[in-house]
Symmetry: C2
């Protein structure tokens, strides 16, 4: 498959074989501000180069992008991270450009499919995937089947942890998981508390060094993430929870305490869910898009 | 189908035809304290009388009960509302008693299946069902398919609304939806605030009369329920949300303000979910058990 991952800042293209192996992988800036016509032309060109580099025929095209989008009709409705790209029939355009069938899916939903089929969820029956990045998104596989959506993907980042809590930049409501566990929020809360930190990784590093302000922000992040995950595992009882996105790269500093809290707080069997890091890393977008083609 | 609904205080049996019509319906006390052997003997006897009264042959038996239970193996593990009923192979015993295939499912999951197939979710593709009763439970249908669980059903009552909130009697964690929206909690919070109220219905009546203490408790209930529902509709984007259980009988006094808040606060399409009252009422248990047999 040719897999295209259309992000707000970066676009990636890769050829992925039936076993989930990435045969080629190219990345370049999306330049969303130039609009959908030039943007898609460049994306499709990147795709052609990926096919050439892989030296491998492809039979279908999978496209992952941020929502809201309509996966059934293959249309980008009004993606938050592609301002001005309204009602873009990306599937039809990809089919015309490549002469192949194409499928569009929400990027977090696709990532869940990728981790389930080829990554950290391989061999399991059910999975919750959460990406902790600029925002928090995710996807769910129940009994081997990807929960597809009506456009936003499962908005797993917008479960509440505190109804009177911090305003969520993603949706404007108070106290969403995203308002605490996104990279943006972690760095922002640290700066509000007086810490000199540009990113969540800075906060994690300061916390590891024992800086009390950073430790407090990190602990709150752990608490919020564990709380949101308990809600999600109580609802879905998945075999495995996979955490991806930049914030998850802090590894056991995040996963260790989150794992312990979820195990203690979740109901019955739900607490048995394993909590692990993404296995696909930077490739999760293209492998996810390929998995959605496979599922389709 | 013969459908059996094994509750903590009441047991019901009914014959339900393929169109979801209830041909007979009998209820009697469960007397859980007498233990599973005598309890099940009485339940099966109630079932036989329901078949006799319906004057209709049955081909299978559906059983709904509170969890934790194992639907795959047909075993009651340690149901919260049937103390001492541990590891009871209820499906095998029903099959022996009736000479028919039997299926066991969590009662809230079964109710979701019933409302979807025969009740307020008829003709829809996806549904979230929530029962507001002694506790809060629920079930989900996605794309026509019931989400079955590993034993507790989807524990929809144990999504968080406030991580530093009220202790939940169901799971011990802080700030679950159940800690605010169960009938038990509504009455309890009202009494703590000095109101003379035995039940949630009393609180609703006082609130309708303008009692400021009751109004405050009711408003908090509305806020908590709306908050929990926003988390759930953001995750599932269902066509319809069905509210059942005793608390839902307060009707528009609850549904009106909850509906408005969910529409405003949910993300994108998720806010389009209709929010309606259970259509099956007292029959939801047996119709749900019958729907699970149909699905199976």
């Amino acid at each position: 498959m040719l897999a295209l991952d259309l992000g707000g800042t970066k676009a990636a293209a890769g050829v992925v074989d039936g076993g989930g192996r990435v045969l080629s992988f190219l990345v370049e800036p999306t330049r969303a501000e130039e609009g959908p016509e030039r943007g898609l032309a460049r994306l499709f060109d990147l795709g052609r180069r990926a096919v050439h580099e892989a030296g491998h025929e492809v039979a279908a095209v999978g496209i992952a992008a941020g929502g809201p989008l309509d996966p059934e009709r293959g249309i980008l409705l009004a993606p938050l991270h592609l301002p001005g790209w309204r009602d873009v029939p990306v599937t039809a355009q990809a089919e015309a450009a490549f002469g192949l069938p194409a499928v569009l899916e929400n990027d977090a939903t696709a990532a869940a499919a990728g981790e389930f089929r080829y990554g950290a969820g391989r061999g399991r029956k059910s999975l919750v995937y959460l990406t902790l990045s600029t925002g928090v998104g995710g996807g769910v596989v129940v009994d081997g089947k990807l929960l597809r959506s009506r456009g936003n993907g499962g908005e797993l980042g917008h479960v509440t942890v505190d109804w009177r809590g911090r305003e969520c930049r993603g949706c404007g409501r108070l106290g969403c998981l995203e308002a605490y566990a996104s990279g943006t929020s972690i760095a922002e809360r640290a700066r509000e508390a007086g810490l000199n930190a540009a990113t969540a990784a800075d906060v994690a590093a300061h916390a590891a060094d024992g800086d009390p302000v950073a430790v407090a922000v990190w602990d709150e992040t752990v608490e919020a993430l564990a709380c949101g995950l308990v809600s999600l595992v109580n609802v879905f009882e998945p075999d495995v929870v996979v955490l991806g996105g930049g914030v998850s790269r802090t590894g056991e500093q995040l996963l260790g305490p989150v794992r312990e809290r979820v195990r203690l707080a979740a109901m019955g069997n739900a607490g048995d869910a394993e909590i692990v890091q993404s296995a696909l890393g930077d490739h999760v977008g293209v492998v996810g898009a390929a998995a959605v083609v496979q599922d389709d």
